[in-house]
């Protein structure tokens, strides 16, 4: 082979260029701390990384959803606790009021406290979370109850929040479960003095109480209770009127209402526990995907640094040999 100047120069330039590309890409890895800086560096890893990033984004979003649902359910839980306490007090007051030893004056006091309690319940039922009536279902711009005696304005729809790729969690409790009589099984009972009382829950969630005389045909009174709040108010009314028969008839709703609260409390408690678990699980998932992402896209600094040192050494060798070759010419020896 007839080697000549052009070939030598080209070879040196080409080798220098190659080394420079190598050192540039190593340096890029070092500054970005990433192994893959563009799709063409490694298409399959880049796509994997993109998918991991979406998974991570989803995990972040689920965690945010959980935070939001958690805040809402904790608020509901507080209201339920208040309701639970207050039903205990209603129970106490009613039993006290029904007691034969009480007179009409003390029953008036019971009546006025019950009236207050009904108002307090109305307040809880109409409580707002972030500007929305929390117990109205989807119709959160409307108060569930416009007054103590009004019927339910909300609906029974669940607000679903996704907490992972496959499942939703109901983040609200609708007022119908807490304040209406949908679950009240129709029944009848006979009082100590032989009166018959019939309970019939209605389609609209209200409750009809029919008090019949001892003959079980003559209807003494029919009471329509729109909601448990209305029930407490009617109870107060009965005490005010010193009508023990009526108070006894209405008293039946107290244990039902309290039970409804307890069921919801249990549900909410279980949900909060589930959210906590799910959050932990998402933290783990997050960690797994971060690790996977790091595996495909992060540069091994030690490796890159040693690669740079290697390239540098060969670059120096190349420069040295180049300078040696350049200084070699016959012309130098012709003097």
């Amino acid at each position: 082979m007839r080697v000549n100047n052009q070939i030598i120069y080209n070879q040196i330039i080409e080798s220098l260029a190659k080394k420079n590309v190598e050192i540039y890409s190593a340096h890029e890895k070092l500054t970005s701390l990433k192994n893959i800086n563009r799709p063409s560096d490694d298409v399959s890893s880049y796509t994997k990384a993109a998918n991991y990033k979406i998974k991570l984004n989803n995990v972040e979003q689920f965690k945010r959803n959980i935070d939001l649902a958690d805040g809402m359910l904790k608020f509901v839980e507080r209201q339920l606790n208040d309701l639970n306490d207050i039903w205990d007090r209603v129970n106490e007051l009613t039993i006290m009021g029904i007691n034969a030893t009480e007179d009409s004056t003390s029953r008036l006091a019971v009546a006025s406290e019950l009236k207050n309690i009904a108002n307090f319940m109305l307040g809880i039922a109409n409580s707002k979370y972030e500007g929305n009536y929390i117990f109205s279902g989807f119709k959160s711009d409307q108060a569930p109850f416009s007054s103590i005696n009004s019927s339910y304005n909300g609906d029974s729809n669940d607000i679903l929040v996704s907490i992972d790729e496959a499942s939703y969690l109901v983040a609200n409790v609708t007022g119908d479960k807490l304040f209406l009589f949908n679950g009240f099984s129709s029944r009848s009972l006979i009082t100590e003095d032989g009166k018959h009382i019939y309970y019939n829950s209605q389609v609209d969630g209200s409750l009809n109480i029919e008090i019949r005389d001892t003959d079980n045909t003559h209807v003494i009174k029919t009471i329509n209770i729109k909601s448990v709040i209305d029930g407490v108010d009617k109870l107060a009314q009965a005490f005010k009127n010193n009508n023990i028969l009526e108070t006894k008839a209405i008293f039946e709703i107290v244990s039902f209402a309290k039970n409804q609260i307890i069921v919801s409390q249990t549900e909410v408690g279980a949900k909060l526990a589930r959210l906590e678990k799910q959050y932990e699980k998402l933290d783990e998932t997050d960690l797994i995907y971060k690790k996977l992402l790091s595996n495909v896209q992060d540069a091994d600094i030690a490796e890159v640094a040693s690669a740079i040192a290697n390239i540098q050494a060969s670059l120096e060798a190349l420069r040295l040999s180049a300078s040696k070759i350049f200084s070699q010419s016959l012309l130098d020896f012709l003097r």
Binding site: V3, Q6, N37, R64, G131, F138
Partner: protein
């Protein structure tokens, strides 16, 4: 014989060696010119004279100054130059496109889609939250503008590609003219049939090499010394004449013509080929898929959004401005499109179609990208042709070979905007009067998990990742091809250099060799002179 003849021999030796030194110097002077072919002096013996006792030499002369030239390697270098030219362009352009899709170190389509869906999901617990609704609208605006930016960037490249093709064609024509001029000069100089215009031939080779960068060429010299250069089987240079190459820009694809014959498909390498290929990739792959992605996504979002109720109990409202403007192009003398509408947004596929008219008044609707026939029938002027949710009415007499391009794709991103103005208009509920109803919102979020018909039954993110991977694969192979072609080029160049290149050491040796011979020749003349003087003194 006489003493004077010794002078003559000395003189020829002086001249020959002087010429040899000139050629050597010429070689040294051109040592760094890659297109230069080393020249060599071919020495000859001057015809001897007959004397008694034999023939007596009369000295030397220069028979030829020959160029070390290997036609095979030169041809290979030219074709490699073309391949390299194509690789360089493809690498440059695809790398640029790749950077647009590259989200390693910046936010891109993935991020805006994520942000959009996140903003939607943030509303799930409280769909009536105004501030979050405003965030969602802003995220949607960002999404639209990111798609528009991407489209603009790709179209900018497309424009510069078109400009470059036009420049390249101009350059090719100017090189062709230079070659034609050189052809004339070479023919003049070589008219004697003996001498060879070495340096002009080198210059012409250098022009051919330059030309090869732009386009793959063929060239040959006929027996009657006419030099031809052809591209795609059409001569662009025939001796001293030039046939200009022409570039026709078109919305579909660029066309290169020589003598009014389309040679685009016959250009397989060189810058022009790289540019035409890039144009095709950008138009028919990157822009096509980008527009399809946005169109498919926005349309699907609208379809579901329309099912929902907003805070004012309105329903059947689009979130994004729906596509209404369908782009079309008519390639027909007398036929015209008189009406073009979308009749069913559910069936819309976001593709491009040709309605081709065939012999016997038959029309055929063909998908431009996979050439699948979607529907066909007998053409009758003014009647509606329906396919993939689109109604087209073509009127007028059409002829066999006419075609109409229908593109519900071209303006999808250009016309994109939000249809809703106010945050309360986002329809997240499935029931009226239900501000906390997030049913439709959950359906909207599901879009990202469901496959979309218009996207070839792919999910949005999968479609986007497929597109990015495709860009990545193309960029990686463009990189590989470039480094392969460059290595091969250097290899061939070196092989050619082995024959044609100048070696300074060699030339230094030659220099000394001819210098010594020159000195000796001078000595011969001196000796002859002394002999002559001796004779003169005798008298």
């Amino acid at each position: 014989m006489s003493i004077l003849s010794i002078f003559d021999i000395g003189k020829t030796a002086l001249l020959t060696n002087q010429t040899a030194i000139s050629v050597t110097s010429h070689n040294i002077a051109n040592v760094n010119n890659p297109d230069y072919s080393r020249q060599e002096v071919i020495l000859g013996v001057k015809a001897p004279i007959k004397i008694r006792g034999g023939y007596l030499g009369r000295g030397s002369n220069v028979d030829d100054i020959r160029r070390s030239y290997d036609k095979f390697l030169t041809d290979m270098l030219f074709s490699q130059e073309s391949l390299l030219g194509r690789s360089v362009i493809l690498k440059d352009i695809i790398s640029e496109v790749e950077e647009f899709f590259n989200e390693s170190n910046r936010e891109g389509l993935n991020s805006v889609l994520n942000n959009f869906f996140n903003a939607l999901e943030d509303l799930s617990i409280n769909p009536s939250d105004m501030s979050k609704r405003i965030v969602l609208i802003n995220r949607a605006l960002e999404l639209v503008s990111e798609f528009k930016d991407m489209e603009t960037r790709l179209e900018d490249i497309l424009n510069s590609v078109n400009n470059e093709i036009s420049n390249a064609v101009g350059k090719i024509n100017s090189i062709s003219r230079d070659i034609a001029e050189l052809n004339k000069k070479i023919n003049q100089l070589e008219a004697d049939g003996v001498s060879s215009a070495n340096d002009l031939r080198d210059k012409r080779d250098s022009l051919l090499k330059e030309l090869s960068k732009y386009v793959n060429i063929n060239y040959y010299e006929s027996n009657d010394k006419i030099f031809y250069v052809s591209v795609g089987m059409r001569n662009i240079v025939s001796g001293g004449n030039v046939s200009e190459m022409k570039f026709l820009k078109s919305s579909q694809r660029s066309v290169i013509k020589v003598e009014n014959i389309d040679i685009t498909d016959r250009i397989t390498s060189g810058k022009i080929s790289g540019l035409v290929t890039s144009e095709d990739l950008i138009k028919n792959e990157f822009l096509y898929k980008l527009r399809k992605l946005f169109g498919g996504f926005a349309n699907q979002f609208n379809l579901i959004h329309r099912n929902g109720y907003d805070l004012n109990n309105n329903t059947n409202v689009n979130f994004f401005k729906p596509l209404t403007n369908i782009h079309f192009e008519v390639f027909s003398q007398n036929g015209a499109i008189t009406s073009l509408n979308i009749n069913d947004y559910n069936a819309l596929k976001f593709d491009e179609y040709y309605i081709n008219i065939k012999a016997g008044n038959i029309y055929e609707v063909v998908n431009k990208y996979n050439n699948q026939v979607i529907t066909s029938g007998i053409y009758s002027s003014g009647s509606t042709i329906s396919f993939d949710g689109i109604d087209v009415v073509i009127s007028g007499p059409v002829a066999d070979g006419d075609s109409f391009l229908i593109s519900p794709l071209k303006l999808t991103i250009k016309d994109a905007a939000l249809n809703i103005q106010n945050p309360e208009e986002i329809a997240l509920a499935s029931n009226v009067n239900s501000p906390s109803d997030n049913t439709n919102l959950l359906n909207l979020i599901d879009i990202k998990e469901n496959s979309i018909g218009a996207l070839g039954n792919k999910k949005i993110y999968d479609f986007l990742h497929d597109l990015t991977s495709r860009v990545g694969i193309l960029a990686a192979s463009a990189n590989d091809n470039l480094s392969f072609d460059r290595t091969l080029y250097n290899e061939i160049f070196n092989r050619k250099s082995v024959v044609q290149g100048v070696n300074l050491d060699e030339e230094a040796v030659n220099l000394i060799k001819y210098q010594r011979a020159f000195e000796a020749a001078a000595k011969v003349i001196q000796v002859a002179n002394e002999l002559y003087e001796t004779l003169v003194k005798l008298v």
